[in-house]
Structures are given as structure tokens and as C-alpha cells.
């Protein structure tokens, strides 16, 4: 995966993609703003959400053990997974034990993060996504571009073509006369999926929340496909990030208010499913819960960065981000795109190891719009700057990069007023000389600036010399 600036360049060149993104994020942004404005105590809710998450994260070990005990008491089988490979192995083992070659899935960020579909495919097990947008992405052999609206980068005509082309190979084919009318597209998806729900014996889900008190897992969704997956099959495996735990039902109440308004711009999500272990004679009779770390304890150990673990995956930050709006999700090289991805990926993976991860904290103008809308008050700009300093520190020693030379040079000049005055004068002389010579190509970083922007003319003399000669006396 290329570093962000290169990946972004590709997306910026795709006018259709940018139009789709601008339209979709603009629409959802307006919806969110309207429903958030209805809630008088929104700020208090945000503070409560952040406080509950923070308190839980500081005693995460205790809450997880309580969750495990409660789950086991209700007949669920609990597995602990340190990383993606361990988590995928658990799911594959359950599928093998039941002799199935396919599973149905509720949309789940955790299973995308660990590459579960690909891992199962390698074992000869097909994993069918049942969320409409995930289905579009899966059938299009594509990657999700948004946390909540994975197919945000696709328009209706593109979706019609994907359904017509790919549904047949995956199950019930699309009707021959399929149009790009939304109702017709939804109907085709409904029929295609219904066949899979009724056939599958094993389902895989994630969870939006896990209540430690009672061992209850919670999924919120809009389409009802999740409810189908959670109730129809004989066996259910839920892969849950360890940061999803909330201690009590009264804590859950806060998040069930914050999440739908922030994510879909709805007052309430259409479906809220909760399940607690096994209920004899009702729903799956074998329930597995995989508690997933995969870098979360690494993020937890970072005092500034740990606030990212408050994230409830609402994607409000994506929808207001000027960078995401132009580049889309793929440029971030992860299932977590946008501002939250720019901090979460480096926190989960660690910085200083690959150029792609190290480029993510810089994929932001630090405009602060993400912090403003975050329902759990993650100060994303603060964490971005913190992670940038970690990236810089990881590359100290060895041959300095041009940027480091420039920054150290700047700091050297700014450390002493006389040096700065000298550099400023020299720069001004050089700038005017270059201007008179009509030089067109300047070295980096001026080259990166002047490709599409004019530089301001270099003034005859800087402010400082005016002040010294006239300003201070007038």
C-alpha cells in the first residue's frame, strides 16, 4: 500500500469518486447537524460518553474478566485472541467443527480489521456479507471506503452493474431487467440475501457494545440483516474488540443516544439487537465470543493516544473531514479511514515501521472539525500531533530527511532573534533575485507549492526593518 500522499493523488484524479463523496458526506453532514441540534444536553451526553469510556479503559482488565464470567454463566464460550491470526483461527475452527463451507456475516469492523473473509477463504470457507453496502463492496471485489457507508464511493449505476455482473456467481442472480432504481436494487439484494440467511448454519458478527454486568452483546443496524444473522443460524461467533466493553446498561443508554445521531443522522437506529449467551430453544444454540486485542493494549499504553479507544465507530469525523471528502477511504490503506483511521491505525500498529502507517498522522490539515463532531470527544488533532512527534522521534539518528533538515534549520533560526533577522534578510534578497531572474522551477518545498499556487511577491523589506527604522518612532 502506498503512503497517503501517493494514494490520495490517485483518488483526486477520479472526478466521479469525488462527486459521489462530496454528495454523500454533504448529505449526511446536514442530517447529523439537524438531529444533534435537537438534543438540549448534547454536550453533557458527550462528556458522559467520554467519561464512561475513560473510566472503563483505566480498569479494562477487571471489566473484561467480569464480561467473560457473565458470558460463561449464560452458556457462551469465550476465546481470547492476541492478534488477527489467533482470532481468524478460532472462527475457522468453529466452522470446521460444524462441517460448513460458508458463513453469513453481519457488518463488522473487527472482522474486517483482522481480514477474516480472506482467512476463511484460504480454508475453503466462503463468508457472505449481508449488509447491503458490504454486499456491494464484496460483489464488486472492492474495498470499503467508509466505516458506516462502505460503498459511499459508488453511485446507483455502478451498483446496478455490480449486481448484474456478480450476483449469479455468489448465489441467486440479479433479475435480468434490473435497473438503477433504488427500490429495484434493494429488492434484488433482498432476494439474494434471503436465500443465504435461510441456508447458513453458522453466522459471524461483531458487536457495538458488550455489557460486562450481564454478558450482553449489542448490535445496532438499519436493515435487519443483522437481526437475521443473529437469530436464524444454529451457531454464532462474535468477534469483539476488547475496548467495546461498557460496565452497565445505564452506561449503554448514553451510547445508544450518541451513536445513531452521530452516524446515520437518525434519532434512533432502526434495529437494536441484544443477545446474552444461549437461550434454550431460541436463536443460536452455540455461541462463541472472541475477545480481540490486535494492538488495542498497545494503544491503551499510550497516555495521549488511548482516547482513540473511546471510538464507537460512528464515522462522524469522516463526514466532516476536508481531506477524507476529497480522497475517500481507500487512500488510508485500512478499514479505518478518515481522521479516526489516521490515529487508530498508527496506534494499533505502532509507528516507525512502515512508511504508509507513518504517513497517516500527516493526512490532516488539523482543522479540528473532527473533534467538534466526535460524540465521545476524542481530541483527534491532539492525537495527530502527538503521533507526528512519535513518527519524527522514531526516525531520529541516521541520515536526516529533507523535512528534518528544514525543520531543524527553521528551529535554529527561530531560536535566536539575530539569526532569524539574518535568515529573513537573506531569504528576502534571494527571493527578489529569483523573482527578477524569472526562475520558474524552485526546489522543494517551493516546488510543491508552486505547481498550482502562486507565491506572494517578496516584499521590499520585512516588517522588522520597518519597525526598527520608522515604526517604533511614529
Amino acid at each position: 500500500m502506498p503512503a497517503f500522499p501517493q494514494a490520495a493523488r490517485e483518488a483526486l484524479g477520479n472526478a466521479q469518486l469525488r462527486a459521489n463523496l462530496a454528495h454523500a458526506t454533504g448529505t449526511i453532514r446536514a442530517k447529523r447537524a439537524a438531529v444533534v441540534a435537537e438534543v438540549e444536553d448534547w454536550e453533557e451526553l458527550r462528556l458522559a460518553g467520554a467519561a464512561i469510556k475513560d473510566a472503563t479503559l483505566l480498569r479494562l482488565d477487571e471489566h473484561l474478566l467480569r464480561l467473560e464470567a457473565a458470558l460463561q454463566a449464560r452458556g457462551a464460550l469465550v476465546h481470547w485472541a492476541r492478534d488477527a491470526a489467533e482470532a481468524c483461527a478460532v472462527v475457522a475452527e468453529v466452522a470446521r467443527a460444524h462441517g460448513v463451507d460458508e458463513v453469513v456475516k453481519v457488518k463488522s469492523m473487527a472482522t474486517q480489521e483482522i481480514g477474516l473473509n480472506e482467512a476463511l477463504a484460504a480454508e475453503g470457507i466462503a463468508a457472505w456479507e449481508t449488509d447491503l453496502a458490504e454486499l456491494i463492496v464484496q460483489l464488486g471485489d472492492d474495498l470499503p471506503s467508509h466505516i458506516l457507508v462502505p460503498a459511499i464511493h459508488r453511485n446507483r449505476a455502478e451498483i446496478r452493474d455490480i449486481f448484474a455482473r456478480a450476483m449469479g456467481a455468489a448465489g441467486r442472480p440479479a433479475p435480468a431487467d434490473l435497473t438503477d432504481d433504488p427500490a429495484r436494487l434493494a429488492e434484488a439484494a433482498r432476494l439474494h440475501l434471503r436465500e443465504k440467511f435461510l441456508r447458513a448454519r453458522v453466522a459471524v458478527s461483531g458487536a457495538n457494545f458488550a455489557v460486562a454486568d450481564t454478558g450482553t452483546l449489542v448490535v445496532v443496524e438499519s436493515e435487519g440483516n443483522g437481526r437475521m444473522c443473529l437469530t436464524l443460524p444454529e451457531v454464532l461467533v462474535s468477534v469483539v474488540g476488547i475496548e467495546k466493553v461498557v460496565p452497565t446498561w445505564s452506561g449503554l443508554e448514553v451510547f445508544l443516544q450518541l451513536l445513531p445521531r452521530s452516524s446515520t443522522g437518525e434519532r434512533m437506529n432502526p434495529y437494536t439487537s441484544t443477545w446474552t449467551g444461549v437461550t434454550p430453544g431460541d436463536g443460536p444454540q452455540e455461541v462463541h465470543v472472541v475477545l480481540l486485542d490486535n494492538g488495542r493494549t498497545r494503544a491503551l499504553a499510550d497516555e495521549v493516544g488511548r482516547q482513540a479507544l473511546r471510538c464507537i465507530r460512528c464515522s462522524a469525523c469522516l463526514n466532516v473531514c476536508p481531506v477524507y471528502e476529497r480522497t475517500g477511504g481507500h487512500a488510508y490503506g485500512s478499514v479505518y479511514p478518515g481522521p479516526i483511521g489516521a490515529i487508530l491505525n498508527p496506534l494499533l500498529r505502532g509507528v516507525g515501521q512502515d512508511a504508509q502507517t507513518d504517513s497517516l498522522p500527516y493526512a490532516s490539515t488539523l482543522c479540528g472539525a473532527c473533534f467538534e463532531v466526535c460524540p465521545v470527544r476524542i481530541d483527534i488533532p491532539e492525537v495527530l500531533v502527538h503521533l507526528r512527534s512519535q513518527v519524527v522521534d522514531a526516525h531520529r539518528g541516521g541520515l536526516p530527511r529533507p523535512e528534518a533538515v528544514a525543520m531543524r534549520g527553521g528551529a535554529w533560526a527561530f531560536a535566536r532573534p539575530r539569526r532569524w533577522a539574518f535568515v529573513e534578510r537573506a531569504g528576502g534578497l534571494l527571493g527578489r533575485a529569483v523573482g527578477r531572474l524569472g526562475v520558474r522551477r524552485l526546489p522543494w518545498p517551493a516546488s510543491a507549492w508552486t505547481r498550482a499556487r502562486d507565491l506572494p511577491p517578496v516584499p521590499r523589506r520585512p516588517f522588522r526593518s520597518w519597525w526598527l527604522r520608522e515604526g517604533s518612532r511614529s
Binding site: A8, L366, S389, V391, R408, W449, R451, P456, F463, G471
Partner: protein
């Protein structure tokens, strides 16, 4: 406080700030010991390099009643980042100096409205103007409608509403060169919104954002001038 960018490239902004404040009866000093607020280093992740720059800043501004900056971004940097840099330096004396200086730093529109208590600064500027509220003024400092209140009181000035005003212009400090392509595309959208207003002049409180959007407008030969808020408020109508 004259920002490093203002000092080197936009001296008229500093001169306008000085003349505006003097017109309002404020005794103005520009300490020559100042250089930069260290924001370029901090925001790019060079915290260690920022330490001596912050030290120079607090030394230069020790002992003044108020520090006025014609930049929301730089004022925000002082108020929100200097403490972080002092912590990184592990220097309690520096942390204390920062804690003394930072609260006395005001962005220009804050100083005029909150400290001096004026909205009509006696300016005359007979042009069609639109205002971009710059992200750091808006979100880091929460200056709200102070700048537009000041502009509305300017004689002859017609203030036109900028569509999507609260969206970033795409400058973002070193983002403008590290992610130059994305920066330009965001800026081109901002420039389009400016042109949609029919304004002759785009005004903002940060020279950096103006340099970026102005650079794009200039490349497009759009015929729209960019000016800093201080320049408009200092204008008296006689050329």
C-alpha cells in the same frame, strides 16, 4: 506579536495592526527579540526542536500587559501548544513562564472586542468583501462572530456571506507541501465558493490561509484580492 510569516512576507499586516491599535489609543511595542510561535515545528512533530523557539517566545514577551497577534493560528498555538512543549522539555521554569505568558495572548479580533470593548474601529473600506473564518480562529480559539461584527461596522463595506464558510481552506501548515495535491483541491473548492459570492476582496485573520487561497486565486487570474482583517480595519478610505 508579529508572526514569522507576517514579518517576512506580509509586512503590511504588521504595519496595519500597529497603526490600528495606535489609532485606538493603545501603546504598542514590537519586541525585536521575537521570532516565531514554534507552530511549524510542533504541528509537524518536531517537539524537541520547538523547545528553544518557545523559550525565545516567552523571553521576548515577558512583562507586557497583553500580547496581540494578527493570527488565530499563532495565538492558538501559544495558548494550546506551548505547555505541551514545556512538558516535553521537562523544564518547570519554562512551564511556569508559559503559564504566565499564554493567557495574555489575544488574537486581534478578540483583543479589539473583549479587551478594548470596541466594534466600530472607525474604518472606511468601500468594497464588496467576504470573510473566511479560518479553522484555528473558529475551533481552537472560538472567536465566533467577533471578526464579522468588526467588519459590519466598517463604513462603506458590503459583507457577503461565504458559502460553506466553516470548511477548511486546505492550507494546514506543512500539509500544504507534504500533501500538496489534496491541499490544492480543497483550496480550489474554497476559491470557487469565494468567486460565487461576487466579492472583490477575500478577508481572513490568518496570513497563512490567505497566502494559500490567494495563491490559487492568483493562479486562476480570478481578479479577487485577499486582505488580512487588520488591513481592512486599519483602512480609513483615503488611498
Amino acid at each position: 506579536m508579529v508572526t514569522c510569516l507576517g514579518d517576512a512576507l506580509f509586512p503590511d499586516v504588521g504595519r496595519a495592526t500597529v497603526s490600528l491599535l495606535r489609532r485606538l489609543g493603545v501603546g504598542v511595542e514590537v519586541p525585536t527579540g521575537q521570532t516565531c510561535c514554534a507552530q511549524p515545528m510542533v504541528n509537524t512533530g518536531y517537539l524537541e526542536e520547538a523547545v528553544p523557539v518557545v523559550r525565545t517566545f516567552v523571553e521576548a514577551f515577558a512583562g507586557y500587559d497583553a500580547v496581540v497577534a494578527p493570527s488565530g493560528s499563532c495565538a492558538g498555538s501559544v495558548r494550546h501548544q506551548h505547555a505541551l512543549v514545556a512538558r516535553r522539555a521537562g523544564d518547570p521554569a519554562l512551564a511556569e513562564a508559559v503559564a504566565r505568558t499564554a493567557p495574555r495572548v489575544h488574537e486581534l479580533s478578540e483583543f479589539l472586542t473583549d479587551v478594548l470593548g470596541v466594534e466600530d474601529v472607525g474604518a472606511t473600506f468601500a468594497h464588496r468583501v467576504t470573510y473566511h473564518p479560518t479553522c484555528h480562529s473558529l475551533r481552537l480559539l472560538d472567536v465566533g462572530d467577533r471578526p464579522t461584527r468588526l467588519l459590519r461596522a466598517v463604513r462603506g463595506l458590503e459583507l457577503l456571506e461565504l458559502p460553506h464558510a466553516q470548511e477548511c481552506c486546505g492550507f494546514g501548515g506543512t500539509f500544504a507541501v507534504k500533501n500538496a495535491d489534496t491541499s490544492v483541491v480543497i483550496g480550489q473548492d474554497k476559491a470557487r465558493h469565494v468567486l460565487d459570492t461576487g466579492a472583490e476582496v477575500l478577508v481572513a485573520s490568518d496570513s497563512s490561509c490567505l497566502m494559500h487561497v490567494g495563491g490559487i486565486l492568483s493562479r486562476q487570474r480570478a481578479g479577487v484580492r485577499v486582505m488580512h482583517l487588520a488591513e481592512v480595519l486599519a483602512a480609513t478610505g483615503s488611498p
